[in-house]
Amino acid sequence: MNANFTEAELAQRRTASRRMAWLIGAVVLAIYIIGFFFKRG
């Protein structure tokens, strides 16, 4: 809730959020590329 994080926890959260961002970016890119291989029936 109203948590006050230690510097180590903050650093860990910063890395985690960056990793998550790249992951989401990769998934979006993958969906985009996979889209090219779909042909209309």
Binding site: M1, N2, R14, S17
Partner: protein, 535 residues
Amino acid sequence: MSVATTTVPGHAGEHHGEHHPAGILRWLTTTNHKDIGTMYLTFALTMFFVGGAMILAVRAELWQPGLQLMKPEFFNQLIGIHALVMIFAALMPAATGFANWQIPLMIGAPDMALPRVNNWGFWLLPPAAILLTLPFTLALFGIGDGALATGWTFYAPLSVQGGLGVDFAIFAVHILGVSSILGSINIIVTIFNMRAPGMTMMKLPLFAWGWLITAFLLIATIPVLAGAVTMLLTDRHFGTHFFDAAGGGDPILFQHLFWFFGHPEVYILLLPVWGLMPHVLATFSRKPIYGYKAQVYGFIGIGVLSVIVWAHHFFTVGMPVPALIYFMFSTMAISLPLAVLFFCWIATMWKGAMSFETPMLFATGFIVLFGIAGLTGLVLADVAADAQYHHSYFVVAHFHYALFAGGIMGVMTGVYYWLPKWTGHMYDEKLGKWHFWLTVVSFNLTFIPQFFLGLAGMPRRIPDYALQFTEFNMISTVAAFILGLSQLLFAYNIWKCVKGGPKASDKVWEGAEGLEWQLPSPPPYHSWETQPVVK
């Protein structure tokens, strides 16, 4: 800086030895920005449930093909009044409530600039809401044939021919319009004249910037709506022919007038939320707001573009090709400043030390779902595609992504974010998280099927439909009821928080920045007796 040290625990309305009448008279006569803000928010929450109940009746009717529960006339009344209630009596008052509570706190002002006007602005709302819904009751006693049955858009010639409900809705819109204009003037004057010393316009909190643009849009467009419905009224009763083709008028003119107001209205509803988002994202990412100036220019850009794109709401009415192309490209151009806002929100979170309390959950949910609203909006802005999707359930799903996920979830973000500041108590975090997940899942289950229904050709505003649409409608109906019931958690959580709960600190959130967090929670009855100085 003079910060009062009294931090009496109590709910939003609690006061500190001030002289004002007690009971109902206090609320009737109050000129205090916090009291008025509380009234706006309470009114908005009440009407949110009223409008929600109406649309649940509609969803129940749409559970399966055929007419089960109501006559088509009553169905038509419900959808139109649902929209008017949600837009004018829930979302707009909620945003005005935010402005009342927060703008003086955020810019270091003791109160709003025009307190009496503020009181009037609020007390015009309940009569307007009653006018809007009264025809339902009158019809029960055999007077008239119920409420406005044209949908919220009042399209002529249907509205010229309609019954008593149209007149009630016209007067309700007039009163609501006056209320909005009073509120807007107050907010603009407050922001221009009452900022703390040292707070230049480019140091103004983004929430205040968003509201400033909204206020100007309201002043520019609400009078046009008032003019349009006034013409409608004179057409109906005083023999003019603005929209009456029999007398040489033109029904299409009404659509132009209505949407000249109607499209900016979308941004009127959303700009306060866009202003609020960066504050929440920055707080829970423990980083400063990314791209402050870009967002300010984005707001201004969207405000300007919003008044020159209206005809995309009726591409299919028959327009010359150059006009179609102009409205298509200008509409699509709005996605540029909007994309700037999206990228600023994402960049604010980038590499942040994020934590996901309820306001942050709602803020991130908002970004994703509002993104879907924007992308489907681009599809509809395409003239060629719009010929297929116009007036289908695709449109319904699209604008609910914009106005529920973008508008109402944005308001919920603000409520969870600021409620501890207003009441001095923390809300129930566990309940808040339940509320978020139930809302976001059931919201998507309600409206994703409607995209499919629209693509498959189901028209909107019909009480009955072809057999092949049944399954998706059933999913949508079940999810809509879950969505509606989940909002009871929201109301209960607010109630619980107002009544008591763990004490909130002055700053409330670890990463919070801004003047409002320097005041005690709850803030004293008069916010900044001595104005703070901004460096």
